[in-house]
């Protein structure tokens, strides 16, 4: 029974990431069309008469992936064949496991069994995600080098330098969050955000660490290598950067790793700053509204509402990243490095110092 529950939870975590990735592909294509005032993907309309507009679901969710997966796989003549093959896997596999530690709900109660809605109850969950994301850099750098192409190589070098630089800002933003909650366990952080400030405002991370949220969001977007931080694949200078020499399914694996990184950043922003699965005033037995109002809700519905809240928040922050991507122009490389090292790093350090002093000075300031 225990094993079965663990298996199902792991499967759910994997499915969430796969589904979110595919949906993001659709949101990206239709969303960019919306932003740029185009029609976008519109072939093979399956709900023809039902909707006033065409969703383009067949294009983006079925035809595109199918096309990508049976395209010819081309390996350049002088490429290092083994590393060229290895790079897409190195880019995408570490990211698959990250959702294991993200809580997507509080608990599911079936009879006497209480199931914690988090695939892996890891005490150091936050560090686990950071570690796996930092391993993803190898795919970029190996892919760039193994292709034996100057464009790919430049893209790979740019990518690894950028990701290492922004990991520091990312880490510092997270340190101040950890200081506030006093734990590295994402489920514990999500639970702590169910408290209320002054009995009214939900104690979400955004109210405790607004600066950390901004720093984390910027650094996280730079980590996922998309515009305005897409210098590793800058198409106007480097063709397609580190994956210039990739085609078919391998190229789509690199694309997928970008989308998974968007989902991870959104999941972390949701969990650390916006209460994770928390619905304001909703507890395990129902709504406790300020002013003493109480509304009983059955346990199963509570769980359902929480999972729904998590997914809605997740997609809001995914959409925000896509919006930024299609709205801002690419940065210049020296500006990128300047932002990382001269803006985010000192601000992050200052935020950590101020948070540490506040945690010590005001015992009641922390959530934990």
């Amino acid at each position: 029974m225990e094993l079965l529950i663990a298996f199902v939870k792991a499967l759910v975590a994997l499915l969430i990431i796969l589904q979110v990735t595919v949906l993001l592909l659709w949101i990206e294509r239709k969303g960019s069309a919306l932003i740029q005032d185009r029609v976008g993907a519109n072939r093979a309309n399956i709900f023809g008469g039902l909707l006033p507009f065409n969703l383009g679901i067949v294009n983006t969710l079925m035809a595109d992936p199918l096309k990508l997966f049976h395209k010819e796989d081309i390996v350049p003549k002088d490429a290092d064949r083994f590393l060229h093959w290895l790079a897409p896997f190195a880019a995408v596999l570490p990211l698959f496991v990250t959702f294991a530690v993200v809580p997507f709900g509080d608990v599911l109660v079936i009879g006497d069994t209480v199931i914690n809605l988090q695939a892996a109850e890891l005490e150091v969950g936050l560090l686990f995600i950071l570690g796996m994301v930092s391993l993803g850099v190898y795919g970029v750098i190996i892919g760039g080098w193994a292709s034996n192409s100057r464009y790919a190589f430049l893209g790979g070098v740019r990518g690894s330098a950028q990701m290492i630089s922004y990991e520091i800002g990312l880490g510092l933003a997270l340190v101040s969050v950890v200081l506030t909650y006093g734990t590295l366990d994402l489920q514990a952080i999500a639970r702590a955000q169910g408290e209320l400030m002054w009995g009214v405002i939900p104690a979400w991370g955004v109210f405790y660490q607004p600066l950390a949220l901004v720093l984390f969001f910027i650094a996280g977007m730079a980590e996922s290598k998309r515009a305005p931080f897409d210098l590793p694949e800058a198409e106007s200078e480097l063709v397609a950067g580190f994956y210039t020499e990739y085609s078919g399914s391998k190229q789509s694996m690199f694309m997928m790793s970008d989308f998974i990184e968007i989902a991870i950043v959104a999941a972390l922003v949701t969990t650390l700053f916006f209460g994770g699965w928390q619905v304001p005033y909703l507890y395990r037995d129902g709504f406790h509204l300020p002013g003493g109002l109480f509304l009983a809700v059955p346990s199963l519905l509570v769980t359902l509402l929480q999972v729904l809240a998590f997914l809605v928040k997740l997609f809001i922050f995914c959409w925000l990243q896509i919006l930024v991507r299609w709205t801002f122009p690419r940065m210049r490389y020296d500006h990128l490095m300047m932002l990382g090292w001269k803006r985010l790093l000192p601000l992050g350090l200052a935020n950590v110092a101020v948070s540490a002093v506040l945690v010590l000075a005001l015992e009641g300031w922390t959530v934990a």
Binding site: L135, V137, I141, S160, I164
Partner: protein, 161 residues
């Protein structure tokens, strides 16, 4: 126990790849693999925090910089087979000595019997307490040492320019 031997064997294999492979890029990647497997064996020892730090710091950052330098310098694969120099012979002799020493130790030495580890063993709280309450001075001195190294590197880079 089986898990430990499995991980240990893989670790030794990839450590040998680090020193024996002709292409420095492959050596660096084998090093990543070795460091990652060390993290896995930390997990087997219930030290999850150390394992994650191992992955983030060594596998995720330091070796990336190694790779970066190797690629930028465009180091090519060694064309000649490995030949023993005078220093190499001395190193080999020392390595043999160490191997004999360790072999003798394994036979003679009796490991201290550890009872079941205390509650919360390997947890972040326990480690933090050890690090920041009991070993605070060594910890701070180490960070000063690292700072000196960073400043030194910057000074040397400036002088050249």
């Amino acid at each position: 126990m089986i898990a430990f031997y499995f991980v240990a064997l893989l670790m030794i294999a990839s450590a040998l790849t680090v020193i024996l492979h002709r292409n420095p890029i492959y050596s660096a990647l084998a090093l990543v693999n070795t460091l990652f497997l060390i993290a896995v064996s930390f997990v087997l020892l219930d030290a999850e925090l150390i394992a994650m730090l191992q992955v983030i710091v060594y596998a995720g950052a330091i070796v990336i910089l190694f790779l970066f330098v190797i690629m930028l310098l465009n180091v090519e694969a060694e064309k000649h087979a490995f030949r023993l120099s005078r220093a190499g012979t001395a190193g080999l002799a020392l390595a043999l000595l160490l191997a004999v020493e360790l072999g003798v130790l394994v036979v003679v030495w009796e490991p201290a019997r550890v009872e079941t580890p205390p509650a919360g063993f390997g947890s972040t709280e326990l480690l933090a307490e050890h690090l920041f309450a009991r070993s605070f001075l060594p910890f701070e001195l180490t960070s000063v040492l690292l700072l000196v190294a960073v400043v030194g590197a910057v000074v040397m880079a400036r002088r050249k320019a």
